[in-house]
């Protein structure tokens, strides 16, 4: 599904290397987790995958189902099935949540040469999916993320993901700032989307989320590289001992 090979990234404005050769291969239907200390390059990886400005890829490649995504505009990557649940979802004053969702769904459909969703059908689907995430009608009407609590923002990200039905979902610290109940809701939302054709890359600090979203593979990222990969037990090791042991071991 997603192949990252030797990805090296620096900041466009500064001479600062952030990713120093990331390798990652995620098969269809798999769930991978990335853990790692603050500043290790996890968010940068997710941004570069989704096409944010300000980063320069100096080496390596990223393909989604064999197609080079680095050459694509962010909206083309989205239409190709890539989705990033932001660590910090952006507030958009003046644009209604519902309007935004429908615009996004239909823009992707159009880009893929599919028919647009009718207003009635859209409404029906949104209501159903919002209900499962405990997002009420009021929240759907409000401007995108404006005045949403941290937890509401994260649930809204999952709603977008559920509506857009991407094949490669990247979740950047979707669990941070969530209480136990909210985290369960989010995890249920994610698990409901798990399927053979859909893969996940879950970036997190904590083992907690991984109790709910069971990963197939866990990677540890440090200083712009994936330094260790393993099974779910690796997350437990981090939980119990922190990163120090692992980092010392690979140094």
């Amino acid at each position: 599904m997603l192949e990252i090979k030797g990805l090296e990234v620096k900041l466009q404005e500064e001479d600062k290397q952030i990713l120093k050769g990331v390798n990652l291969s995620i098969g269809a239907g798999e769930v991978h987790a990335i853990m790692g200390p603050n500043g290790s390059g996890k968010s940068t990886t997710s941004y570069v995958l989704s096409g944010k400005d300000g980063y320069e890829v100096t080496a390596g490649s990223v393909t989604l189902d064999g197609v080079d995504v680095l050459e694509m505009e962010p909206e083309e990557r989205a239409a190709a099935g890539l989705f990033l649940a932001f660590q910090y979802p952006v507030e958009i004053p003046g644009v209604g949540n519902m309007t935004f969702l429908r615009t996004a769904v239909n823009a992707q459909r159009k880009a893929r040469g599919e028919d647009e969703m009718s207003a009635g059908e859209f409404l029906k689907v949104v209501r159903e999916k919002a209900k499962a995430l405990k997002i009420d009608a009021e929240m759907l009407k409000r401007p995108v993320n404006v005045g949403f609590s941290g937890g509401e923002k994260k649930r809204n990200e999952i709603l977008q993901m559920a509506m857009l039905e991407p094949k490669m979902c990247i979740l950047d610290e979707t669990d941070s700032g969530l209480d136990v109940d909210a985290m369960k809701l989010v995890a249920e939302g994610v698990n409901a989307l798990r399927s053979e054709g859909r893969s996940f890359l879950v970036i997190t600090h904590y083992q907690r989320l991984l109790d709910h979203i069971k990963p197939d593979v866990v990677h540890i990222m440090a200083n712009g590289r994936i330094v260790k990969s393993g099974g779910p037990e690796l997350a437990l090791e981090v939980e119990n001992n922190g990163y120090a042991d692992i980092l010392a071991e690979v140094a």
Binding site: G51, E73, L84, V90, G94, F100, Q108
Partner: protein
């Protein structure tokens, strides 16, 4: 040359080509003497620091190509009393019958012959009052020389909006129209104005709202790229009165919209708002507002939003004056520009002058570019850069459009803005 001499020469040159129309003689002569005394504005006048008035004051207008569009006219779906002027000339065939329940409508040219006292009494009155503390000579020029217009007296809740349609057919037309509105106690009326009116248009609207009356004004100023306009709206609002005015400006080489409001009674609500979109370095748009609070618990709101690209220039001068005794005034003013490139410019001069101690007044002015984070967020959801930019642009304008109470009118203007953006790459 000294400014006084420059101005008096220019004024004489302008006046030389004009003759006072018949009727309303006293008001016209008074206004003419005001113009002569003040002189027409000059770019060295403080009040015209950001907008060079020369094309508005020179003797002959600069020609403006007539804009042709296949779009259906604005507010076509709104049942209204339609009154059409072509280059300032009343078009009887295109206009509706002027009768409407709850309101009396006449043309300005009929005021004298029909002996419409209230209109004779009001004509030029608010304009004359509005000359202090800042001179507005182009409004006095209009009172003196306006050739037509409408006078509207709302005696109850007007059954329909009154829709003034200003068509432009002659490349060299130079037009002055003057409208007077009297909203009697407890009455309510909506006035719509659409279209460019002329190559050069000078319009004055005087509004008098009696106790508990309500006046709604929604205007869209023609899409002709080369048109020029100076407009003045003078309003006096009595206790419990409501005044709401919204203007959409898309295109036009030169637009100066002045709005002068006096909140005379207690508990008055007065809102004036505008959205403008300009593309190109021959776009210059100026909103100049002066709001005087002279009653208790008055609420005034100014919301002005400008979208500027390719060297377009936007100006905002807005003042709130709170007189001694106008306690519990709530004055709000926001002027914002969205600069879609580095070439465009927004000049803002917000002013507060407050002589009462128990008031809340706030003002803010910002100038910014499209929020790149929001743009990326939207793109990452599959919305193309252009569509996302347009959505963010409309969102930026939304606060101004929200000032329109009638949702059908607001929707029409939103569609207009939507297509304006969609036509641009």
């Amino acid at each position: 040359m000294a400014l006084a001499k420059l101005k008096s020469d220019a004024t004489q040159a302008r006046l030389a080509g004009l003759t006072l129309p018949e009727g309303l003689d006293v008001a016209r002569k008074d206004a003419l003497s005001r113009v002569s005394a003040m002189g027409l504005p000059h770019k060295r006048d403080e009040y015209w620091k950001y907008t060079d008035p020369i094309s508005l004051t020179q003797a002959d207008p600069i020609a403006a190509a007539v804009f042709h569009s296949d779009d259906s006219p604005l507010f076509a779906g709104v049942d209204s009393v339609k009154i059409v002027f072509v280059d300032g000339v009343f078009d009887a065939d295109a206009s509706d019958d002027l009768s409407c329940a709850g309101v009396e409508i006449d043309r300005l040219v009929d005021v004298a012959a029909a002996d419409i006292h209230w209109a004779t009494d009001l004509y030029g009155t608010s304009e004359a009052r509005g000359q202090v503390p800042v001179a507005r000579p182009l409004a006095a020029l209009n009172t003196a020389f306006a050739t037509d217009g409408v006078v509207i007296r709302a005696t109850g809740k007007a059954a329909k909006p009154i829709s003034l349609v200003y068509l432009h057919a002659d490349e060299a037309s130079d037009v002055m129209l003057h409208c007077v509105v009297r909203v009697e106690a407890g009455a309510e009326v909506t006035l719509l104005e659409t279209g460019p009116a002329a190559a050069r248009f000078n319009s004055v609207l005087e509004v008098d709202v009696a106790e508990g009356g309500a006046f709604h004004h929604v205007r869209a100023q023609g899409r002709d790229h080369e048109r020029r306009a100076v407009t003045h709206c003078f309003a006096r609002i009595a206790s419990n009165g409501l005044f709401k005015s919204f203007t959409l400006t898309a295109n036009g080489t030169m637009t100066r919209n002045e709005c002068i409001l006096e909140l005379l009674g207690d508990d008055v609500v007065a809102h004036v708002a505008g959205a403008c979109v300009g593309d190109g370095d021959d776009f210059h748009h100026d909103d100049t507002i002066f709001i005087t609070h002279d009653g208790l618990r008055g609420e005034s709101r100014q919301v002005f939003k400008k979208v500027l690209r390719n060297g377009a220039v936007g100006v905002f001068q807005g003042k709130i004056l709170v007189k001694a005794g106008a306690q519990k005034t709530d004055g709000y003013q926001i002027s914002q520009s969205l600069l879609l490139d580095g070439d465009s410019q927004f000049l803002a001069k917000p002013e507060l002058e407050i002589y009462a101690d128990d008031v809340i007044c706030s003002h803010g002015s910002t100038s910014g570019a499209i929020d790149e984070d929001a743009l990326f967020y939207m793109q990452s959801r599959g919305v193309g850069r252009k569509a996302a930019t347009d959505l963010l642009t409309l969102a930026f304008l939304a606060e101004a459009l929200e000032e329109i109470d009638n949702p059908a009118l607001a929707d029409d203007l939103r569609d207009r803005l939507d297509s304006w953006l969609a036509r641009r790459s």
